[in-house]
Every structure is written in structure tokens, then in C-alpha cells.
């Protein structure tokens, strides 16, 4: 048996699902945020795997861009959380429901 992109893809799908569960189940905004990062990373893994098994550099470059955007996202997201925390000192996402209809 040799490894193929299928194995990596399955691993990626599992990690993605776990991340998704975390986003849906946890209520701590920081943990939710981490889970989002994890989902991004899961997708990165399949990209790298495809790049490897198709012998093309494009997948790796895509990952670099995903990382760049993820970094920007984390920075802005954390700044939002800090600003939010000043208004409402809580970390529970369910208490941040000012925008309900």
C-alpha cells in the first residue's frame, strides 16, 4: 500500500469536520475562532497534497495566500474581540446577540 492524495484528503475532511463541530458547539469566542483557523488548515492540507500528487506548485502558492489572508483575519478578528470586550466583558458568543431581529 502506498499513500495517495485520497488518504490526505480523508484526513483533511476529518479535521474540517472537527473544526466545524467546534465552531457550532463551543460558545467561547476564542475557541470558535481557533476552530475556524483549524478548518482553514484542514483545507490547506488537501491543497498541499494535491500539489504534491499533481506535481504543480500552484497548490502551495494557494496555501501561502490562504495563510496571508488567515493572518490578516486573525489580527482583525482579535482586534474586534478586544474592542468588543471593552463594551461587554464576556466571551460567550451567545450573549453577543444585540443584532437579533
Amino acid at each position: 500500500m502506498t499513500l495517495s492524495s485520497l488518504h490526505y484528503f480523508i484526513l483533511s475532511a476529518i479535521l474540517f469536520a472537527i473544526g466545524g463541530i467546534g465552531v457550532l458547539v463551543r460558545r467561547n469566542v476564542f475557541v470558535i475562532f481557533m476552530c475556524v483557523e483549524m478548518m482553514l488548515n484542514a483545507v490547506n492540507l488537501s491543497l498541499i497534497a494535491f500539489a504534491r500528487y499533481l506535481n504543480q506548485a500552484d497548490g502551495q502558492l494557494l496555501v501561502l495566500f490562504v495563510m496571508a489572508i488567515a493572518a490578516a483575519e486573525v489580527v482583525v478578528g482579535l482586534a474586534i474581540l478586544v474592542a468588543l470586550h471593552r463594551k461587554r466583558p464576556t466571551t460567550d458568543a451567545d450573549e453577543m446577540n444585540v443584532l437579533r431581529g
Binding site: L24, D94, V98, R100, G101
Partner: protein, 638 residues
């Protein structure tokens, strides 16, 4: 210089930009000098171009600048056309503008919106030169609308006064009627010839066999535009009201340059007019009738500037009469001389106002001859020029038009024009005698402060007076030993050689007739002046008595034939009623009803969907996941 012809256009534009954005840092003097200098540079460029053109064999030069629109078959190139016609026009426009800019430095010195005034004035020069130098008629149209905009802005320059603001609106709206005609003419032209480039259109017009109706339609639609811009019957009503603007504006825009754009345009596209005798007859008839009609109104008015405004309408009528009988060169010649002496008359009027603290009613003037001598002498020269006194500019150009009209067999129009010449001499000397001669009727308070205008105003007037004297000598007719230079020069213009012109050439009568007519028109002019002298200097009781004996007719003419009231009743009021009807019965219940109904529907749906907005990010994330799973399921099932 021909390769740098765009500089002529760019200088005023630079002036606009600098004055509009940084003018307030320059101070009044700086802004005025900058604006004048820019127009002066433009003038130098125009003269240079003119001189260079003289040295060429083929005097039609085009210089492409850039492609403006290029869509399918529709190509518009911004291209300069420099030929005798446009070069003469450019020199006149920039030259008169330059002098009036300088005059304005003095005239507007105490105005708080001084810088803005000069920015507008420069913008006007830019637009006017665009109009004149454009090769493509669509670019001409841009300039055409540009000068219209500047006219509107400058008429309403003192917008605190309701009269000025209203006059601006009126000018804009009336011009719009003409501009629609012009635009329709351009569209029909494009459909017919497949291009709006002047040279291509003229080339096509010679070759393509048109249905006669089409040529007439294009020519008449273009003429509708010219009627609006050049204030002819029935669209002249805006020009007298335009006198609410500052006097240099009246001189520059509403006497010397912008209002002549219609004449220029007809001369420019005259190949098209030559294709349609019907259209030409219309042009000549409208011109001749307007000349007479406006002159009669000018006889009765008491407002100094309004008399001059009606005089302008009348003189523009002459120009249209000239181009209408196929004497395009004569029309342009009169345009040139008129630009000088009419601008001078207005500047003189401005100088009088300056001396009398803004007074405009000639009944409150009189005896100013010795108090403001420079103004008096320059005004007198201009008056003699417009009256057609032998040897001065107006004499040659007006006589050329009269002669060409007669030679073309339009005897009735000729008689009307001759009568108008007499009226012109009479009303202009009515002004001279009531303003500068006789007893002073000036208010005591004002009289103490009567003073001559500063040098910055009188020097440009002196220059214009000089040109009012000598400008006629570019077109001395053959029988007076001249070569009619301007006519030959203009012959080299784009598309200028036409069968019609040749007919006018062959139809000329004997030299004896020409002499007779010449002497007749001199006699008429002198008679007009003499009559004015008798009535307004010798027998000053006569005017009121004549007015009384004429009774109703005098009042009717004094009220400008009630044309404004007529338009109000026939056009404005019905339109207002229609507008009111649509506002109340259509706009409210129907249009607003639809809009508000849609808004109410959206609000209803929104209230229904409100339930979904729990405000919990986790719920939304779940929604995304549900969507993702559904998409995946769909992809699998498919």
C-alpha cells in the same frame, strides 16, 4: 504654431483651473492679471496661426488631438480645424476677449466674487474657442453647450437679485429649445452621412444625392440651434433679459462672441444650406425680419443696455440675412466688425454706469459729454460705425450685405434691411444725444461724483475704437477701389466653393447700380442721424408728442410687442398646467404609489423573516453548514 494650435485652447483652461482652485490665494489683482494674461497668450497664438495660414497655399489645416469616442461605426476624434474662417473667428474671439478681460479688472474691482468672475470668463473663452476650432460637429456641440453654460452662470452672476437669477434661467431654457434642434440636426446628419466630421460631411454632401427634404430638414434643424443661440425670432426673448449680467459679460458674450456662434455655425456648414434653397430662404427671411423687428423695439426702450441688446439682435439679423442670401463672407465680415463696435458700445455703457453709480435709465442722464470725454468719444466712434457712417467699419460690412441681398434679387428683404439701417442710425444716435448732450438730468447726489473711468477701462475702449475704425478696410468693395480681401481670404475655407456662391457672383448688376445703392444707404444712415439730432437735441418736446399721437401702437412697441406675455400665455402657462396635472394625479397616486407599495411589501417580508435573525453567530454558522451539506447532497444525487 499650427502644430501647437491646441495651446490656444489650453491657455484659458489653465486660467480656469488656477483661478477656480487657487484664485483666492492670488488676490484680486493677481487673479485678474492671470486671467487676462492667459487670454492674451491665446490671442497671440491665434494671431500667429492666422499669420502662418496666410503663408500657405492650401489653407485648410487639421490637427488631430485624441480619439474621444470610438464605438462601432461611431467615431469622434477631437481634432482642430484651422482654416480661414475659423482663424478669423479665433482672432476676433480671443482679441475682443482679451480687451474685455482687461476692462473687467477695472469694472469688477469692487465685486466680492471677483475671482469667480474671471474663472467663468476664462471658461467661456475656452468653450468658445473649442466651438470655433472643432473639426467634429459633436465637439462643436460641446463648445456650444459650454458657452451656453457660461452664459447662464454669468447672467446670473449677481444671483442675489431675483431678476438676474430669473434671466439666467430664462436664457438657459430658451437656449435649450434651440439646442434640441441642433442636436436633432446632428443626429439626422450622422444618419445621413455616417459621420460628424466636418470635412467628411462636406465631402459626402457634394457626392451623395440626397432627397431634397433631408437636406432641408438638416439645414433647418441646425438653423433652429442658430436661432436659439443667436437670438433670432422667435427665440430672441432671452437676450434682452440677459442684460442683468455684469456689463463686460454683456459686451463679450451677449454682443461680440457667443451670440454670433449661430452665424458662424451656418457659415461653417453652409454647404448643407446651399443644398436647400428653401432653408436658405428661411434663414434670410428670419434674419431680415428680426433685424427690422428688433430695431423698432430699440427705438422705444429707456434702458441703455436693453437698447443695445435689441440692437445686437437686429445686427445678428443682418448677419443671417447675409448668410441667407449666400453671401457668407459678408455675414462673417459683419460679424467681425460688429464684434468690435458692439463690444465697444457695451463697454461705453458700462463706463457710463460706472460714472453714474449704476444708473441705466437714459432719462436720468444727459450732458455727460464733457464730464467723461474718453467714454464719449469712443462711444461716438462706435455709434458712427454701427450707423454705417462712411469710412467706418460698419459701413463696409453692412453695405456688403445690403448689396448682396439686392444682387440676389431679394428686393423686399433689401428694402426692409435698408429701412432697418435708417432705424439703426436713429436709435443709436438717440442714445448718443440723450446720454451725452442736452441738459443734465442726473440725480443731484450722483452728479457730484461723476468721474471718468480708470485707465484700465478706457485703454481697452480706445483699442476697440481703433478697430471700429479700421476693421472695415479688410473688406473694401471693388467699386471703391478695394479688393474685398476678406472675401477672397475666406474663399479658401473648408468646403467654401459652392455653385450657389458662383450664382451670386454672376447675378450681380452693373457697377452703376452698386454705386446708386451705396449712396442710397449712406443717405439713409445720415438721415437717421440727422433725424435723431433734430428730435433729441433741437426739439426735445417731439418724442413725447410723437409717442402720444401714436398712442396704442407706441405702447405696444414699448412693451416689446408683448411677446413675453404671449409666450407666457401660450407656452409657459399650459406647460405649467400640464406639469401640475402630472404632479398631482400621476406622480402622487401612481408613481409614488408603486414606490411606496414596493417598500411596504419589502417591509412585510422583512417582518416575516425577522424571526430568523436570532443574533446568535452559532445559528448562522449552522445555516452555512446546512447549506454546504445540501449542496453536497445535490451533487451526489444528481
Amino acid at each position: 504654431m499650427l502644430n501647437y494650435a491646441w495651446l490656444v485652447l489650453i491657455f484659458p483652461l489653465v486660467g480656469v483651473i488656477i483661478n477656480a482652485f487657487f484664485g483666492r490665494y492670488l488676490g484680486k489683482r493677481g487673479a485678474g492679471i492671470l486671467a487676462s494674461a492667459m487670454v492674451g497668450l491665446s490671442f497671440i497664438g491665434a494671431v500667429w496661426m492666422f499669420a502662418e495660414l496666410l503663408g500657405l497655399e492650401d489653407r485648410v489645416v487639421t490637427r488631430p488631438l485624441f480619439d474621444w469616442i470610438s464605438v462601432g461605426d461611431f467615431n469622434v476624434q477631437v481634432k482642430l480645424l484651422i482654416d480661414p474662417l475659423s482663424s478669423v473667428m479665433a482672432v476676433v474671439v480671443s482679441g475682443v476677449s482679451f480687451l474685455i478681460h482687461i476692462y473687467s479688472i477695472g469694472y469688477m474691482a469692487h465685486d466680492e466674487r471677483f475671482v469667480r468672475f474671471f474663472a467663468y470668463l476664462n471658461l467661456f473663452v475656452f468653450a468658445m474657442l473649442t466651438l470655433v476650432l472643432a473639426e467634429n460637429l459633436l465637439v462643436t456641440y460641446v463648445g456650444w453647450e459650454g458657452v451656453g453654460l457660461c452664459s447662464y452662470l454669468l447672467i446670473g452672476f449677481w444671483f442675489e437679485r431675483k431678476a438676474a437669477a430669473d434671466a439666467g434661467k430664462k436664457a438657459f431654457l430658451v437656449n435649450r429649445v434651440g439646442d434640441v434642434g441642433f442636436a436633432l440636426g446632428l443626429m439626422l446628419m450622422f444618419v445621413t452621412f455616417g459621420s460628424l466630421s466636418m470635412s467628411q460631411v462636406l465631402e459626402q454632401a457634394m457626392v451623395v444625392r440626397l432627397m431634397p427634404g433631408v437636406a432641408t430638414a438638416i439645414a433647418l434643424l441646425l438653423f433652429v440651434g442658430a436661432v436659439g443661440k443667436s437670438a433670432q425670432i422667435p427665440l430672441y426673448v432671452w437676450l434682452p433679459d440677459a442684460m442683468e449680467g455684469p456689463t463686460p459679460v454683456s459686451a463679450l458674450i451677449h454682443a461680440a462672441t457667443m451670440v454670433t456662434a449661430g452665424v458662424y455655425m451656418v457659415a461653417r456648414t453652409h454647404t448643407l444650406f446651399a443644398l436647400s434653397p428653401t432653408a436658405l430662404t428661411w434663414v434670410a427671411a428670419i434674419g431680415g425680419i428680426t433685424a427690422f423687428f428688433a430695431a423698432t423695439i430699440a427705438l422705444t426702450q429707456h434702458d441703455l443696455k436693453r437698447v443695445l441688446a435689441y440692437s445686437t439682435i437686429s445686427q445678428l439679423g443682418y448677419m443671417f440675412l447675409g448668410v441667407g442670401v449666400g453671401a457668407y463672407a459678408a455675414g462673417i465680415f459683419h460679424l467681425t466688425t460688429h464684434a468690435f463696435f458692439k463690444a465697444l458700445l457695451f463697454l461705453g455703457a458700462g463706463s457710463v454706469m460706472h460714472a453714474l453709480a449704476g444708473e441705466l435709465d437714459i432719462r436720468k442722464m444727459g450732458g455727460l459729454r464733457n464730464k467723461i470725454p474718453v467714454t464719449f468719444w469712443t462711444f461716438l466712434i462706435a455709434a458712427l460705425a454701427i450707423a454705417g457712417f462712411p469710412g467706418l467699419a460698419g459701413f463696409f460690412s453692412k453695405d456688403e450685405i445690403l448689396w448682396q441681398t439686392f444682387a440676389n434679387g431679394k428686393t423686399l428683404l433689401w428694402a426692409l434691411a435698408l429701412l432697418t439701417a435708417g432705424l439703426t442710425a436713429f436709435y443709436i444716435f438717440r442714445l448718443v444725444f440723450t446720454v451725452f448732450y442736452g441738459e443734465s438730468r442726473v440725480d443731484k447726489k450722483v452728479a457730484a461724483h461723476v468721474h471718468e473711468s480708470p485707465k484700465v477701462m478706457t485703454v481697452p475702449m480706445a483699442f476697440l475704437a481703433l478697430f471700429s475704425v479700421i476693421a472695415g478696410y479688410i473688406g473694401v468693395p471693388k467699386i471703391l477701389g478695394g479688393g474685398n480681401w476678406i472675401e477672397h481670404y475666406l474663399d479658401g475655407s473648408l468646403g467654401w466653393h459652392t455653385p450657389e456662391a458662383a450664382i451670386a457672383e454672376t447675378a450681380h448688376a452693373s457697377a452703376g447700380t452698386e454705386w446708386a445703392l451705396l449712396i442710397l444707404s449712406v443717405i439713409v444712415a445720415l438721415a437717421g442721424i440727422g433725424l435723431a439730432y433734430v428730435v433729441y437735441v433741437r426739439r426735445t418736446d417731439l418724442p413725447t408728442r410723437v409717442a402720444k399721437s401714436l398712442g396704442g401702437l407706441y405702447t405696444f412697441v414699448y412693451n416689446k410687442y408683448k411677446v413675453d406675455e404671449f409666450y407666457m400665455a401660450v407656452i409657459v402657462k399650459p406647460l405649467r398646467a400640464v406639469g401640475k396635472f402630472f404632479a398631482e394625479s400621476v406622480d402622487g397616486p401612481v408613481v409614488d404609489g408603486i414606490a411606496e407599495g414596493i417598500a411596504a411589501l419589502v417591509a412585510l417580508i422583512g417582518r416575516g423573516l425577522q424571526v430568523l435573525q436570532t443574533g446568535l453567530a452559532r445559528n448562522y454558522a449552522l445555516g452555512i453548514l446546512v447549506g454546504a451539506v445540501l449542496l453536497l447532497a445535490y451533487a451526489l444525487v444528481r
